[in-house]
Subunit: 324 residues, 2 copies
């Protein structure tokens, strides 16, 4: 389509027009030259949508659970955005036909935006794009933005860190306890869900999780104790309890100043990443200048140690900055 | 022990004294203030040891293979350094007693240095320390330095990238093909070893690997075609063939200028990492100044978009640099 200018797209997105929302997210994903313009236009329009991260190993039923969660929030009259950064998600087009059909009910609902983000290419780019896509969905009037990620790998954990509340899904009989511990998932969950709770081993999984999380131990008053909710998402069972657990966590965060603190930390991390990337790009320019290559040559030859070489590189970056 | 000064330690390391070697690596690992002094002293003494990376999933027999490789190089009269960055390695103290006993034969050999590097703490620190530890072993007169890593996770792959030749180990019947593909291991191997080749499925694993590597396809003349060697490392079977494959790869790299190119690229990466870390540290100082916090607050409030905030941060870094 012929492209509208950024102010027009942002105004259309604010009115909730899906094509403008999609177009803005594409601009962000593509690292468009207009990215900065988009971000500047979005900033003053921020609404502060509640961001829920949904993560878990492949096969635990993330997309089915996300779909059930969307339905529950829709029943409560909320507008919902879904950002799927999961290569196996039906949103991303890679999963079972059954799931895809199940999700398509939301595709025709004007109160729901669904967007998949490609995990092809380097993941750093994705962790970078996700918070900006969340901003677009926020400006488009979403009360809740659900970010669905596969719970494996550092980058996905970083994306989960973009959420206000992180919900970790497990399923019985997948050796998830150990897998979860490996992926560091036990450190990031605010709410745990044992899905497929009609299967054998669901109670054992919940018990193991309870034990691993140390939920039996005493905590300071006011500390958050992650609840463990059992669901059968495919039949919508337990979804209302999940929403209650999420809203309880949100209320707890607001009461204790944790929500403001998390959002501050998130913004700080984002600003820092952009700044470091900008500085790294300047080194990259030097790379193009062959300055880095020349320094590396001297390091290999033993004429220079890597620290002394790095000093020259840093000096080059800041000289350039002074000259710019 | 009372600490000798850096020039004395470096001179003792150059003479091959194990305690000085160990002490220098500890200084590097600990990110000591004397790190820069150590690196500056080592640079002119570089010998250009041949660095072999050994990687593979847990259970494929990495430490047994490394031990067999050490024996083979020792028989050829070479001095060998081993850097084990593998939490499950007997060098790191976390594995089977049988393996540990098998390795202890080298512990009393003055021509072998064995050093484990902790993977506790953040892995970035390890990827950082490994190339510098390699330099110490090089200066200590090692002809060959073997870097043993677990082949899972991005950081380990980065460590493998520190090697001149990367040897990827697999074992039959572990579903390694798929695991290997996931971990990106198929892109990094120069030499592949199917260990435990006396077990059922060894031929199938080699065939699958051959297929996945596309070894049946035509290549340009002069291209390197990664060999697949079958071994039973526990009995020393196939180890001589592994050494031949490694030396063949080394000769090919030298003939085609690949060795010099890899070392250049490695040095460039190292210098760049140190420079980016230095720039990031300056942002960290600003963080301490609460400047980043103040910017993040304005981003959360919608007064500033993250790019504009990052611009201010970058300006702060370069101002400081100009002022320093």
């Amino acid at each position: 389509m012929a492209d509208a200018d950024v102010p027009t797209l942002v105004e259309q997105a604010r009115q909730g027009r899906p094509r403008a929302v999609a177009r803005l997210i594409s601009l962000i994903e593509g690292d468009s030259p207009r990215l900065r313009e988009v971000m500047a236009a979005l900033a003053p329009l921020a609404q502060g949508a509640y961001v829920v991260g949904v993560t878990g190993s492949p096969g635990v039923g993330k997309s089915t659970s996300t779909s059930a969660l969307v339905s529950a929030y829709r029943r409560a009259g909320k507008r919902v955005g879904v950002l799927a950064v999961d290569p196996s998600s039906p949103f991303s087009g890679g999963a079972l036909l059954g799931d895809r059909i199940r999700m398509s009910e939301h595709a025709s609902d004007p109160g729901v935006y669904i967007r998949s983000m490609a995990t092809r290419g380097h993941l750093g780019g994705l962790a970078w794009a996700a918070p900006q896509a969340i901003r677009v969905l926020d400006v488009a009037g979403c009360d809740v933005v659900i970010v669905e990620t596969v719970g494996v790998g550092q980058s996905e954990v970083e994306i989960a860190a973009q959420a206000d509340t992180t919900m970790v899904l497990l399923a019985p009989g997948m050796g998830d306890g150990i897998q979860a511990a490996k992926a560091g998932i036990l450190e990031i969950g605010d709410v745990y869900v044992v899905n497929k709770a009609d299967r054998e081993g669901a109670d054992a999984t919940a018990r193991e999780l309870n034990h691993m999380l140390g939920l039996g131990e005493a905590r300071a008053p006011g500390d958050w104790r992650p609840p463990i909710v059992k669901t059968v998402a495919a039949r919508g069972e337990g979804t209302d309890e999940v929403v209650q657990a999420l809203e309880k966590h949100r209320a707890w965060m607001e009461e204790h100043g944790v929500l403001a603190e998390r959002r501050m930390r998130r913004a700080a991390g984002e600003v820092e990443t952009i700044a470091v990337t900008a500085l790294r790009a300047r080194i990259g320019d030097l790379h193009g200048d062959r300055r880095l290559g020349a320094l590396a040559e001297r390091v290999v030859a033993g004429e220079l140690d890597p620290y002394a070489a790095a000093d020259e590189l840093v000096a080059g970056v800041t000289e350039r900055a002074a000259g710019a």
